[in-house]
């Protein structure tokens, strides 16, 4: 009998007033009983709308059926037929606009908690299963993967399974890309990311850190000097956008990349045990309304800021972040200063930030993105006293590869031009993820990595 409860099994979580002072994971995860109960809310409908909402087409009703029966390891195997990083996707996918938004249970009540169950199954496997992934016999062909974020990891995993000799080149000292430097520990524990990476290494994938493709080694050299048969570029969107307003170089003004990298990759929240400091004042404004903005705001709160504001130029309903992140931020005491846009930063005589001038905005007609276009309200300028600002309005692809690779076409936004299979304008060079689409989601980047891996295999088998 299906479970006809209109509500999801609630996710066990640390209490807001406790968790906003630590960096431990917010959600502690379903118990097996909760998972089985929740999986029984799935009606196993024939049309499977949820699957169409998943960018990588995970066989959701099938894995639900297995969870409902308590066959958690089998459920894991079912998910990984299509998604090689379920522990990560279960935590960071925007399920409410993907699989769960299509669930038939939405007609009356909440959808099945697909994301939470994906996470449960993946965590169960990490604690109980083994990672003897079967790989095809070595086929003697070499593929280089540039970047070890979600896109590169999924391409590398798929290619290794097919028998390719795969090496990932990572510019940083730690593999994982945005999963390590961007998403905070309290939302995605770093040892989970590292376990996924270890799994790839067990499959024979080699990881070369501290190698900046486009500087240390050029793309052309990967073919000529290193003998690779194909290259997949998944170097992400690493170049932060700034607001381009007065006072942006004042001390106390960060890009979200800098702020989060100091905290996450460099473990600045453990200063001075770790050497990298992170300055957070009393009053912090984060500019932007996406997941990165929520991550920065919630991190600032955890580092002891008294007032943390999300300053966003549109309204609450237009916030692009995951619903859960917005809710968690509110619960943790982050304040939302909506329909406001910064016009200039104000500094003291020593060059430190002491305030920001904001102007109120009103929403007009929808723009090309379908969201209502914000416009400033004349004469509504006012000052908000802040000592720390974090700019989280987006990133564009890093130009290092573009600058040093001939024959690789990019568009006006600096993104690599690639077809639906990731093929670029350069022979045997494929690309996918944020470097092609501009800043998007983990799951879309993974999907692109999978498609490109299949296309590379197709091409190299010829």
């Amino acid at each position: 009998m299906p479970n006809m409860s209109l509500k999801k099994n609630p996710m066990p979580e640390q209490a807001p007033e406790i968790r906003n002072k630590n960096f431990l994971e917010v959600s502690t995860g379903y118990t097996p009983a909760m998972a089985m109960d929740e999986a029984q809310r799935c009606l196993r409908c024939k049309i499977k709308p949820c699957v169409t909402g998943c960018p990588v087409g995970v066989k959701i009703p099938e894995f639900m059926a297995l969870v409902a029966e308590g066959k958690f390891e089998e459920a894991y195997q079912k998910i990984t037929e299509d998604n090689s990083l379920p522990a990560i996707c279960g935590r960071v996918c925007p399920q409410e606009s993907q699989c769960e938004s299509k669930c038939v249970r939405c007609a009356k009540g909440e959808p099945v908690a697909i994301g939470r169950l994906e996470r449960f199954v993946a965590d169960y496997h990490m604690n109980h299963g083994s990672d003897d992934v079967k790989t095809a016999p070595a086929n003697g062909k070499k593929v280089a993967v540039v970047g070890s974020g979600p896109s590169g990891l999924s391409a590398a995993g798929d290619l290794a399974k097919l028998g390719y000799d795969v090496t990932i080149y990572e510019a940083f000292h730690t593999a994982g890309g945005v999963l390590m430097y961007g998403i905070p520990e309290f939302r995605l524990p770093k040892d989970i990311v590292q376990k996924e990476i270890e799994k790839l290494e067990k499959m024979g994938v080699k990881i070369e850190k501290n190698v900046i493709i486009g500087k240390t080694i050029l793309v052309d050299e990967l073919f000529e000097d290193y003998g690779y048969d194909a290259v997949y570029i998944g170097s992400g969107a690493g170049l932060p956008s700034f607001l381009k307003i007065e006072g942006e170089t004042l001390n106390g003004v960060y890009s979200a990349n800098e702020f989060l990298t100091r905290i996450n990759l460099m473990k600045g929240y453990k200063f001075p045990q770790y050497d990298t400091p992170v300055y957070v004042g009393k009053d912090v404004a984060v500019f932007g309304g996406g997941n990165v903005a929520m991550d920065a705001a919630r991190s600032a709160k955890r580092l002891g800021a008294e007032n943390v504001y999300i300053v966003y130029r549109r309204g609450f309903n237009e916030l692009p972040a995951r619903a859960e992140e917005i809710m968690h931020a509110q619960e943790e005491g982050v304040q939302f200063a909506l329909l406001k846009n910064p016009t200039k930063f104000i500094g003291d005589e020593k060059g430190w930030l002491c305030g920001v001038e904001l102007v109120n905005m009103e929403l007009g007609e929808p723009d090309e993105s379908g969201r209502r276009r914000p416009a400033p309200v004349e004469g509504s300028e006012h000052i908000l006293g802040i000592d720390t600002a974090v700019i989280a309005i987006g990133q564009t692809p890093n130009p290092l590869i573009k600058q040093t690779t001939e024959g690789l076409e990019t568009n006006s936004r600096g993104c690599i031009v690639a077809d639906e299979n990731g093929a670029t304008t350069k022979k045997m060079v494929y690309a996918g993820g944020d470097v092609v689409t501009g800043a998007a989601t983990v799951i879309l980047a993974m999907g692109a990595g999978k498609k490109a891996a299949a296309a590379i295999d197709e091409e190299l088998k010829k």
Binding site: N251, S255, Q273, K350
Partner: protein, 284 residues
């Protein structure tokens, strides 16, 4: 492939400044004057940029010259030949444009002299007439005198206290040279911000193109954090990917000086704590 980066040679240049030759074949293969590397000593360490002072492609080594002033540089000063650093990435930044110059004045201030040296060396190799003016606090702090002599057509050493060379500032000597009729197509100034600013104020009067090397706070060195932004001609640039060299006459020096102080308090506390940090075992 290269799991750790071995220190093949360490040499003290003066009581505060030391040289380290580090095994990093991939970096050595691509290194050019004006570029930098990012180094991290151990898993607790900061990522800190160091300008490439020299490189040997055949030997696969990169030389950096370090002044022990902060947490990382002090930790580094405790390492010696045979020790390793955990991470060493590069070469980063745009190489200095050195070809096509006839007569160049290369100005180095203190540690900046170490960065000015590879530029002078390359200029000399390219056939330019090179005047090097290197300023130090006192005789004890002079570095690379012999090396500079070998590559410069004219070498002028100044010390703040006159204990060796000429007493006074590098700008005074540069002014003297220009006043005496020396015609430079370019001045390259590398050193503390105040020194580079003073050189630029002077060369602006004579309308001599001046290149400076900025070394602001940065984390990744690949354009990702934006911490190294400098205002050049009213525009925000990233020292790591757009520089570190910029037109000195276009730099907003006050903004650069302010940003230098952003993490000063943290640096002080990190150094006071020294090795005795809670929960931390150093080189266990």
């Amino acid at each position: 492939m290269y799991m750790a980066y071995k220190i093949l040679e360490k040499k003290e240049l003066n009581p505060q400044i030391f040289l380290m030759k580090i095994e990093a074949p991939l970096v050595a293969k691509k290194a050019e004057p004006g570029q930098f590397i990012i180094l991290r000593i151990d898993e607790y360490g900061e990522r800190v940029p160091f300008t490439i002072a020299d490189y040997d492609r055949a030997e696969g080594t990169v030389t950096i010259i370090v002044q022990a002033v902060g947490k990382t540089t002090m930790d580094l000063s405790k390492l010696g030949t045979g020790d390793e650093v955990l991470d060493f990435a590069g070469p980063l930044g745009v190489p200095t444009k050195l070809d096509g110059k006839k007569k160049v004045a290369v100005i180095g201030g203190g540690l900046g002299t170490a960065i000015a040296y590879p530029q002078a060396k390359k200029l000399s190799k390219l056939g330019a007439d090179v005047t090097v003016i290197a300023g130090f606090r006192s005789e004890d702090f002079i570095i690379l005198e012999e090396e500079l002599k070998a590559v410069a057509n004219k070498l002028i050493i100044t010390t703040d206290d006159g204990s060796n060379g000429v007493k006074g500032f590098v700008t005074d000597r540069l002014n003297e040279e220009i006043s005496a009729g020396e015609k430079y197509d370019e001045v390259i100034a590398i050193g503390p911000l105040v020194m580079m600013r003073a050189v630029c104020t002077l060369t602006k009067q004579y309308d001599i193109p001046t290149t400076v090397s900025m070394n602001p706070v940065m984390i990744d060195g690949t354009g990702m954090c934006g911490g190294c932004r400098v205002i050049v001609g009213g525009e925000t640039k990233f020292a790591c990917v757009d520089g570190p060299d910029f037109d000195g006459h276009l730099i907003d020096w006050q903004a650069a000086l302010n940003r230098q102080n952003m993490f000063k308090e943290f640096e002080k506390s990190a150094c006071e704590d020294g090795k005795c940090r809670i929960g931390r075992t150093h080189h266990a």
